[in-house]
């Protein structure tokens, strides 16, 4: 289980996240939703060590320490948006780089085959440059690359960003399969409807604070949207 305690983070003198206390259950899919500029990406950047934070981040009770690359080696793996694939490397090379941490390097070919069974389209494109892929395929490469790292917890950043609706559905089908396999997932998503459809737990972040935390099953979409758009002044 990943947990944050009084986590605050920001950029220089500007604090974006204020005293965030969140729990991400093992084997569950936790969705973080919220409007643009709410601090979702800042949360992700703090969790992966890309920006400094105050407060604590605990993985299975032990504090997480180190730089971004140390955290990735410990299994806190982020899938950035699909634009951040290695554009001038092939699909297969991108996937192999996911297995860079030493504990993941054994049995590379079996690991690759598992990814190709997940993403058959990537097998067809294995020797193509990742920069030449469509947005949906690049998103699949980014996800496959993250899975190659055998994550203890997989943080997925805005997988629907810039994708056509039919491709978004395809990407979320894959996220459902990952969840069914027992992968612990934290999903950052603006699209509340689709996030709710896959999530176990939902947290709403607005202006740097957690304003709602509930099991997805009990979330009422209208009330979530009221909070999301700060209508009726709730939770402010």
């Amino acid at each position: 289980m990943l947990e944050t305690r009084n986590l605050s983070a920001g950029y220089g003198a500007i604090t974006v996240l204020w005293d965030v206390n969140l729990k991400f259950r093992s084997g569950a899919l936790t969705a973080i939703v919220g409007p643009n500029g709410a601090g979702k990406t800042t949360l992700l950047r703090a969790l992966t060590g890309l920006i400094p934070h105050t407060g604590a981040i605990l993985l299975d009770g032990a504090p997480l320490k180190g730089k971004t690359w140390d955290l990735a080696a410990q299994g806190v793996v982020m899938v950035p948006e699909g634009r951040l694939v290695f554009r001038d490397m092939t699909v297969e090379e991108n996937l192999c780089l996911g297995a860079y941490p030493e504990r993941c390097r054994g049995d590379l070919s079996a690991n690759l085959e598992r990814m190709y069974s997940f993403f058959p389209r990537l097998k067809e494109r294995r020797s193509q440059l990742a920069g030449s892929l469509s947005g949906g395929e690049a998103q699949m490469v980014a996800m496959g690359r993250g899975l190659m790292a055998q994550p203890r917890i997989l943080l997925i950043d805005e997988p629907s960003l810039g994708l056509a609706p039919v491709i978004v559905n395809e990407v979320f089908d894959i996220i459902r399969r990952l969840k069914a396999e027992g992968t612990t997932i934290v999903l950052i998503e603006q699209n509340t409807r689709i996030a709710l459809s896959v999530a176990d737990d939902v947290h709403l972040i607005r202006t740097g604070k957690v304003v709602m935390s509930e099991p997805a099953a009990s979330v009422d979409l209208d009330r979530l949207h009221d909070l999301y758009f700060a209508r009726e002044g709730q939770g402010a």
């Binding site: 992966t48 890309l50 730089k67 971004t68 690359w69 140390d70 990735a72 080696a73 793996v77 982020m78 950035p80 951040l84 694939v85 290695f86 554009r87 001038d88 490397m89 090379e93 192999c96 780089l97 996911g98 860079y100 941490p101 390097r105 920069g131 690359r145 790292a149």
Partner: protein, 290 residues
Amino acid sequence: MTELILQALFSGVLIGSVYALVALGLALAFGAMRIINLAHGELVLLAAYMAYLVESRTGLEPYAAIPLALAVVSAVSIALFMLVNMIRDHRELNSLILTFAIGIILTNAILLAFASDMRTTTSAFLQDAVSFGDVYAMRGEIIAFALSLVLMGLLWWWLKASWYGRAVRAVSSNRGAAMLMGINPTRIETVSFLVAGALASFAGVALYTMSVVQPAVGHALTVKAFIITVLAGVGSIPGVFLGAVLLGVTEALTVTLASSALQELAGMVLFLMVLFLMPNGLFGARARRG
């Protein structure tokens, strides 16, 4: 006349292969760190003088100096890397000034230690002529050419198939994403500097066996490597090789048909022509990045 031109083409290809090694080192450090190491030619020069030192002191063949050259150039590379790494702001620009100055210091250190005389190998074995039909080469040139091809092959394999090599390309491609893959970019930058230094070591020893060296050669080599990189773009080993051969042939033809005084100028003219006519480089149709 035809024989002369053929001979110039042949010699140009042979020296071009060594230029390619120099340029690949420059491109490797640039790819990972986004800095142009203007002292790179001086690293090559340093290795050439290690070959001179070993040959003149021990009478061994110059290639026996490779372990010494590797050790000295690696040590200087690491010192250079640590200095560059201390730059906090405007690394691209400030590193140019810093590495340019380090190059001047190295040139003058070599001048102090070895004087300004021209040096080349005295090995009879390496200077023996070998004929290929109508054209001739020194045995040293053929060995240097073969060595360069082998090293380029090894470099290609390393970048393609090894974990460190792939990580170098990942950091070049997208530094932030590479960090998310568990890659420590500072370590990878160090590795790329060391590999660039190893290439410079071999290139320097090879250069000593086939050409004359003197302290000013270091700076000229940096310029050549830079021209080749602009001709070929970074990122493709065959592209760099072709660009280097083109530069070598242009220089050799200039020496044969005009004057050796114009050799460096010819490279510059080639460089300007490519910039005017093909601003994306010779193989720049697929200019990406940015």
